[in-house]
């Protein structure tokens, strides 16, 4: 691998990201899968780094899941998107930042479609007006939350309590980055670093001291694929996809996986259990899996937040070995205590995949 070659490509895909004043839209599913991620995004960006981040309680789904499952037509999805834009306009913001990759893709796709077909935009404006008497201005910038963290990666690194370095060996931790498909595969210029070699996550990892692993199936989908998972008969494809990725990354012995999509960390994490049950194989050391983090979780760990406050106990794959390498202190007994130190009940542990 020639690093210089990648940098040449990255230089072609520099994305302009505004430094402040964002209208933040959350994901439908992340808060249940990774309950602390969005919370910590807001905490880090707004509280720690002092940026202006606005949220509206009227924000709804962007329609992305329904759109990608072919259950709603594009015009409907666009009208939902138009409503979010209206909320932003009403709040007086011009920069939209989405927590969800599919939302980001959906917003980008809508704007790009309108750019090509202005008559469609006019019709959607009419639809929106008829539906809820709202008007909007198109956002000046649409970013994904990981773009913001990428932009702030060096500020985070300055405030970091730990670096992504294996305490026991002193070597940089080997991190696999996994980018959500809807981030830049549709519009390479809308993603930091383009579609082939995106650097939004690898930039964070390198800035925080880790080493990025590039493996053959890096581009491959996590396996969610909407209908591949949501239709139960197709779930075999979903898990096979994930399996393919793990088989491909296995020889590199990664210490962790970092993701920027709602579905990806969920499937990369949970399917490791299913694969271990079905094939008897685990991909981490000593029977453990490879822990999967959202970029907010990893940022949180780097900034020294308590792992259990970051919600790492809801991961399927045990994060403790990674925390040990990182040198982050944690209380094993507090793992299954919730925010108010309530007992969360310890789950039944899997037979093959080693967990605590």
């Amino acid at each position: 691998m020639i690093y210089q070659g990648k940098q040449n490509i990255w230089s072609d895909y520099q994305k302009e990201i505004p430094h402040d004043h964002w209208f933040y839209v959350r994901s439908c599913i992340r808060q249940s899968f990774f309950p602390a991620s969005e919370y910590f995004f807001v905490k880090i960006v707004r509280d720690l780094l002092g940026k202006d981040l606005y949220e509206s309680k009227h924000h709804t789904t962007c329609g992305g899941i329904a759109y990608h499952c072919d259950t709603i037509p594009q015009e409907t999805a666009m009208t939902i998107v138009a409503r979010q834009f209206a909320l932003m306009t009403e709040a007086g913001y011009k920069n939209l930042v989405a927590s969800c990759i599919t939302s980001f893709g959906n917003y980008t796709e809508t704007l790009e479609t309108w750019r090509e077909f202005p008559e469609l935009e006019a019709r959607i404006r009419e639809n929106l007006w008829k539906a809820c008497r709202r008007e909007f201005e198109k956002p000046e910038y649409v970013a994904h939350a990981s773009d913001i963290v990428y932009m702030l990666r060096n500020e985070i690194a300055e405030k970091a309590k730990v670096r992504l370095i294996d305490k026991t060996t002193g070597e940089p931790l080997r991190i696999v980055e996994h980018i959500g498909c809807h981030y830049s595969k549709m519009f390479p210029h809308k993603g930091v670093g383009g579609a082939e070699y995106p650097c939004v996550l690898s930039g964070m990892v390198e800035s925080w001291g880790g080493q990025v692993i590039d493996y053959p199936e890096r581009r491959h989908c996590c396996g969610f694929g909407f209908r591949q998972y949501l239709v139960k008969a197709n779930r075999g494809y979903s898990v096979s996809n994930t399996h393919k990725k793990f088989e491909s990354m296995e020889p590199y012995h990664p210490d962790a996986i970092i993701t920027n999509c709602p579905g990806c960390p969920y499937f990369l994490d949970r399917w490791q259990y299913v694969i271990s049950e079905q094939t008897g194989k685990t991909y981490g050391r000593d029977g453990f899996g490879i822990p999967v983090f959202t970029y907010e979780e990893l940022a949180g760990l780097v900034l020294g937040y308590d792992p259990w406050d970051l919600g790492l106990q809801v991961h399927q794959v045990a994060v403790e070995p990674f925390l040990d390498k990182l040198g982050v202190a944690y209380d094993p007994d507090a793992k299954y205590l919730g925010v108010n130190k309530e007992e969360l009940l310890k789950p039944t542990l899997p037979t093959v995949l080693k967990c605590f």
Binding site: K232, G236, Y237, V239, V274, E277, T279
Partner: protein, 107 residues
């Protein structure tokens, strides 16, 4: 193992560098003409057996080259020789099939 109601599906992808081409290699030795196939499909179009079976010499050769099973196709050839007549590269497809039948090892 818990019953998930779904399982890992086998990859349909073929690894070109790690194929077991023993059968094809032997065929190449017996009927070197097979190497010059350019997959034009004349043989398949002319095939008498294709009317009632999936027989296609083009596919058969390709499947062999990709390490896939050809038993079903091979089993429907009537050796009528039309494919040999129409092959623009003059491949003796009839001998190819006959040779393949001889060296074929049932899985």
């Amino acid at each position: 193992m818990p019953d998930f109601g779904f399982s890992l599906s086998k990859s349909s992808s073929v690894s070109l560098d790690s194929l077991d081409l023993g059968l094809y290699g032997e065929l190449e030795r017996l009927e070197p003409g097979v190497k010059t196939c350019m997959a034009c499909g004349s043989c398949s179009a002319a095939c008498t057996a294709s009317v009632w079976s999936g027989m296609s010499v083009r596919k058969l050769i390709l499947n062999l080259q990709r390490g896939k099973d050809v038993e079903k196709m091979l089993g429907s050839c009537m050796l009528c020789g039309k494919c040999s007549m129409v092959c623009p590269r003059g491949i003796n497809t009839r001998h190819l099939i006959l040779s393949l039948c001889r060296i074929y090892k049932k899985q």
